[in-house]
């Protein structure tokens, strides 16, 4: 045990480890908050779809040699999120089919582009990193950390300010609209926030694992807690704790960060599921 603590404090001396922890906490906090809404609105898969789009955009950015690839990835992902979440009911291709189409298309095109135009000697290594985020969290530059902090704060602030509106729209969009809430505007807002979170979270766990951050904490919290407020708070806490545990284990054991975090989320889900079963029998 003392060696582990020593090892940990040794690693914490490196700025990139501290960056990773800051970004990890913020990203998991934001993603879990919106996760509750997405899961309840039956949009769980949107995180996955959007992250594939972000991957495709990243490939295009690499081909075009854009220096700050966020400038391309963020707007593209936001645009697709708006398309997917806001056209919803009227679209000719319905929700889940549209997500499946866009996400798998973006994934294929992204990989194709990377293969054709890549200058790197290790394409499969690059792709693997982007998809599973194996090391990207530990190679963050300070500008990226700042960007992440600013965007996370914006997301958090928006969520807190519009918490009740988000609840009203999640629970009953028709009723909210009938009483005069501008649901189109707030759906748009939710879509933009989700896209921002997905792009941020891609750094942490990689494109393929993003939806785990969105879905698991919300589902775990929903097993046990009974009001929207307690579910939201619990999801946030679960998500942050799991990310911290995941990052620390990944650093100490040398495992890939993204999948370790997701593994921690799965363990948490099982625990909460167990608690709900135990409670169900007790009552």
């Amino acid at each position: 045990m003392p060696e582990l603590v020593e090892k940990l404090s040794f690693y914490l001396d490196f700025p990139f480890v501290r960056y990773a922890i800051v970004v990890g906490v913020l990203v998991s906090l934001c993603s879990s908050l919106l996760g509750v809404t997405l899961v309840l609105k039956r949009y769980s898969y949107i995180g996955d779809g959007l992250s594939h789009v972000a991957f495709g955009a990243l490939a295009i950015a690499a081909v075009l040699k854009v220096t700050n690839n966020m400038l391309l990835i963020l707007p593209v992902t936001v645009a697709v999120a708006v398309l997917l979440l806001c056209t919803g009911r009227n679209a000719r291709i319905k929700g889940d089919a549209a997500i499946a189409m866009v996400s798998v298309g973006a994934l294929a095109i992204g990989y194709l582009l990377m293969n054709i135009f890549s200058t790197s000697a290790n394409i499969s290594g690059d792709v693997c990193t982007t998809l599973f985020g194996s090391t990207s969290i530990l190679t963050l530059k300070i500008e990226e950390v700042y960007l992440c902090v600013v965007l996370s704060c914006v997301v958090l602030l928006t969520f807190v300010l519009f918490y009740h509106k988000i609840f009203a729209i999640t629970f009953d969009e028709n009723f909210a609209r009938a009483t005069g809430v501008n649901t189109t505007l707030f759906n748009l807002m939710i879509a933009v926030i989700v896209a921002v979170i997905i792009v941020l979270a891609m750094n942490l766990v990689g494109a393929l694992l993003v939806s785990a951050l969105v879905v698991f904490p919300a589902l775990s919290a929903m097993r046990v807690f009974k009001s929207f407020f307690s579910v939201t708070v619990a999801a946030a806490i679960i998500s942050v704790v799991c990310s911290l545990i995941g990052i620390v284990i990944a650093i100490l054991a040398g495992t890939p960060v993204g999948s370790t975090i997701v593994a921690a989320d799965i363990v948490a889900f099982c625990l909460f599921y167990g608690v709900s079963l135990f409670r169900g029998r007790g009552v």
Partner: protein, 218 residues
């Protein structure tokens, strides 16, 4: 007998989705103090008409005019329950309070008066003891009463109810009808879509039959 005042005036109203018109060239007046039941078979346009009144659906042609100073914010709407709501983790209080979201634009919290009003509405629908309960753990009847309380919070003058008793057991149905009747006695105008023709004829002072109307429309 008081003179009847018109609350909502529909003229040449056509409503529909896609390529289909479900309500065609309808002229109808809802009066202040009405207890109006809308009956008709599935797909005859009952719910569509209600959605038109609630402002969720814009008319294809014709007009829906609010009279006697009626505001959109004075209308309470009880839509049919969705799958999403049935297992939604939220407390009854949170749901009832969400009715006020249309009224205050940007406040991130609820005011004292709104909380009091919410309790009042829960009392009127006999759900005040459930305030802290979890919505998904309630019975079907309790769920509907909670949603009615929410509609009531939003409503000052007009309640639009879309099949409020569908799927309820006889006892819950009876309670629901009694609550609605009480509200009507207190001066609320009620427009209710229902399949329950007998009760519609017993309680309501007006009945609108969409089977006839759609025939007439052709």
């Amino acid at each position: 007998m008081n003179e009847t005042k018109t609350l909502i005036k529909c003229r040449q109203l056509t409503l529909g989705y896609g390529s289909k018109d479900l309500v065609r060239d309808l002229d109808y007046d809802v009066n202040v103090g009405d207890y109006l039941c809308i009956i008709g078979r599935n797909g005859s346009g009952k719910t569509t008409f209600l959605r038109g009144l609630s402002g969720l659906l814009s008319p294809r042609s014709g007009s829906i005019e609010f009279c006697d100073g009626l505001q959109r914010s004075e209308i309470g709407f009880l839509p049919q329950m969705t799958v999403v709501q049935k297992d939604f983790p939220a407390s009854v209080e949170e749901i009832v309070l969400s009715a006020f979201q249309g009224k205050h634009r940007l406040l991130p919290f609820y005011r004292r008066a709104q909380r009091d009003r919410a309790m009042e509405c829960m009392a009127l629908t006999r759900t005040e003891s459930l305030a802290k309960s979890c919505f998904r753990e309630l019975s079907g009847g309790q769920k509907q009463r909670v949603l009615l309380a929410r509609a009531l919070c939003a409503a000052e003058r007009l309640l639009l109810l879309d099949e409020p008793v569908t799927g309820l057991d006889p006892e819950s149905t009876e309670t629901m009808y009694r609550i609605i009747e009480d509200l009507h006695q207190k001066g609320m105008t009620v427009v209710m879509v229902t399949h329950d023709v007998d009760t519609a004829l017993d309680d309501a002072n007006r009945v609108m039959d969409f089977n006839d109307i759609s025939v007439k429309g052709k």
